[in-house]
């Protein structure tokens, strides 16, 4: 019979929100992970204080993965802590550490590309798009912010808690599960949808904007489109955003002095 129930898993899942609270350059998220898993370890090693000490030493070591996918590691490690026999602590430590290291890297890579490169920019773009198109008012800000928070947090909550429960109850299928999700397709679809949204937002912005340097709006917009293309070209050449901003300011000063 399993010692860890779903309630304890969910508490650990909630504690994972503090995974990066004490992020450090030496062992990265180690304290955050130990803080999240400690209630489960206390249940597993209820009458075995020496076992608990060894487990704590195991999990105070290096840990780093994507914050939302860390639940998969937590679920899997909890199950391994429970399943592997305590008769040989050294062997147990080795097995758990190997499993942890084996999943941490791939999960971080998947999480970074899905959340940081696709879902987060898409969510922020949707929120900002709403605000740009509906006008800069408190109402549009509230709805824009709600839109982006929902678009971002729904997949986040689903991924986090689904992986937490699935990796605990079916940890042997974790790799199979991750391989079967079409991450590349998902990222591509999100990025293309984002691009479509962006084209509408760009057009809407040019229509709605109040600040026109040239009184004839089509020429003003045409100039902005050219600047837009130039900045994209600069970004494609890996120019840092700070360099682009400095160049814009310097050029603006020169233009301003030329105008007189």
């Amino acid at each position: 019979m399993k010692k860890v129930n779903i309630f304890s898993l969910l508490i650990s899942g909630l504690k994972l929100n503090f995974l990066q609270a004490s992020w450090n350059f030496e062992r990265l998220q180690n304290i955050g992970f130990l803080f999240s898993i400690i209630n489960i370890l206390k249940i597993i090693y209820k009458n075995n204080i020496e076992g608990l000490k060894v487990a704590i030493k195991r999990h105070i070591e290096f840990f780093n993965t994507h914050i939302f996918f860390s639940s998969a590691v937590l679920g899997m490690v909890s199950r391994l802590e429970e399943d592997i026999d305590n008769s040989d602590p050294e062997k147990k430590s080795k097995e758990i550490e190997n499993a942890k290291i084996g999943v941490m890297g791939p999960l971080a890579a998947i999480g970074d590309s899905i959340f940081w490169s696709a879902i987060k920019p898409f969510a922020l773009l949707s929120g900002i798009g709403y605000t740009y198109l509906m006008g800069f008012s408190a109402d549009s800000l509230i709805w824009g912010a709600i839109t982006s928070i929902i678009i971002y947090n729904l997949p986040r909550i689903f991924v986090k808690y689904y992986l937490l429960i699935e990796s605990y109850y079916n940890y042997q299928k974790l790799f199979f599960l991750l391989q079967n999700i079409r991450f590349q397709h998902l990222i591509k679809v999100i990025k293309i949808t984002g691009m479509i949204l962006l084209s509408i937002i760009t057009a809407g912005y040019l229509y709605k904007k109040d600040l026109n340097l040239i009184s004839l709006r089509p020429i003003d917009n045409f100039l902005l489109i050219i600047i837009f293309i130039l900045i994209i070209m600069a970004l494609k050449r890996k120019t840092a955003i700070s360099s682009i901003l400095i160049s814009i300011i310097v050029l603006s000063i020169i233009i301003s002095y030329i105008i007189g």
Partner: protein, 263 residues
């Protein structure tokens, strides 16, 4: 300067800043939210949203991957909004766009400095962990909570102090600098601010770039542009339906292509 309001919004900014990396990452720390809240408390929501949206777009591609510490966009948005709103109150005849750009120029280095402070904070965390490590290994697990709280406390107190220093001490200096600027520089600030949203949109374009995406962007941009000018109001339902239809078509196309390739 209303000190009670400055204290209140600095506190809100500190709490929201924690969401950007340390707690949860629920996206409530996005610059447009902190800009809007700051603007609302100080009496100019519009300024907060404009500045917040620009900051959000320009620094959208700054994920905290691994050991990389990005500049704090929450700070850039917060400081810039505070300066912009107060400047607009004091200098009522000043050019609004020039003030926005000038405030952004103050906020940007502050955001980068908070990023640097985060690096120092993470080095301090190493020392804190070393200090308590043996106790934790002896199963005194309450020290885990102490480390977490201590780290959050240090981050918060550093940010709060910095925010107050920048706003209270820096404002009179910034005001003097702005008032001494020649007309050409003020005009150049307006020109720069005119370009800022486009910089943000270009950053997003570059981030979302793919061949198919760029083609669709080109195809959709001109009809949308004409549509916006043809209609007097933005029709949101059009915008949503169009997006859903395209997502469906593209998704089906990719899946179809993939399945055909695997066969």
């Amino acid at each position: 300067m209303e000190l009670d309001k400055i204290f209140l919004i600095s506190l809100i900014a500190v709490i929201l800043e924690l969401d950007s990396y340390y707690i949860g990452m629920f996206l409530i720390s996005q610059p447009i939210i902190i800009g809007g809240i700051t603007g609302y408390v100080l009496g100019n929501v519009n300024a907060g949203i404009i500045i917040g949206s620009i900051v959000q777009l320009i620094w959208i591609n700054n994920p905290p991957v691994g050991a990389f510490v990005p500049p704090s966009t929450t700070t850039i948005s917060f400081i810039s909004t505070v300066y912009a709103v107060i400047f607009l109150k004091i200098l009522s005849n000043a050019n609004q766009d020039a003030i926005f750009m000038f405030s952004l120029l103050i906020g940007i280095p502050c955001g980068y400095f908070v990023g640097q402070m985060d690096i120092w904070h993470r080095k301090i965390n190493v020392k804190i962990i070393h200090f308590f490590e043996n106790k934790i290994k002896q199963c005194k697990t309450s020290y885990l909570i102490i480390i977490q709280l201590l780290s959050i406390f240090i981050k918060s107190i550093l940010n709060f102090t910095l925010f107050l220093l920048i706003i209270i001490l820096g404002f009179s200096l910034a005001e003097k600098i702005y008032l001494s600027l020649p007309l050409q520089i003020i005009r150049s600030l307006t020109i720069s601010f005119w370009i800022m949203p486009v910089v943000g949109l270009a950053v997003l374009f570059n981030m979302l770039y793919s061949k198919e995406g760029a083609r669709l962007y080109g195809i959709l941009f001109f009809p949308s542009y004409i549509f916006f000018f043809a209609k007097d109001a933005v029709n949101l339902s059009f915008f949503i339906i169009l997006t859903i239809v395209f997502v469906f078509v593209i998704f089906s196309y990719i899946i179809f292509k993939h399945e055909r390739a695997t066969k």
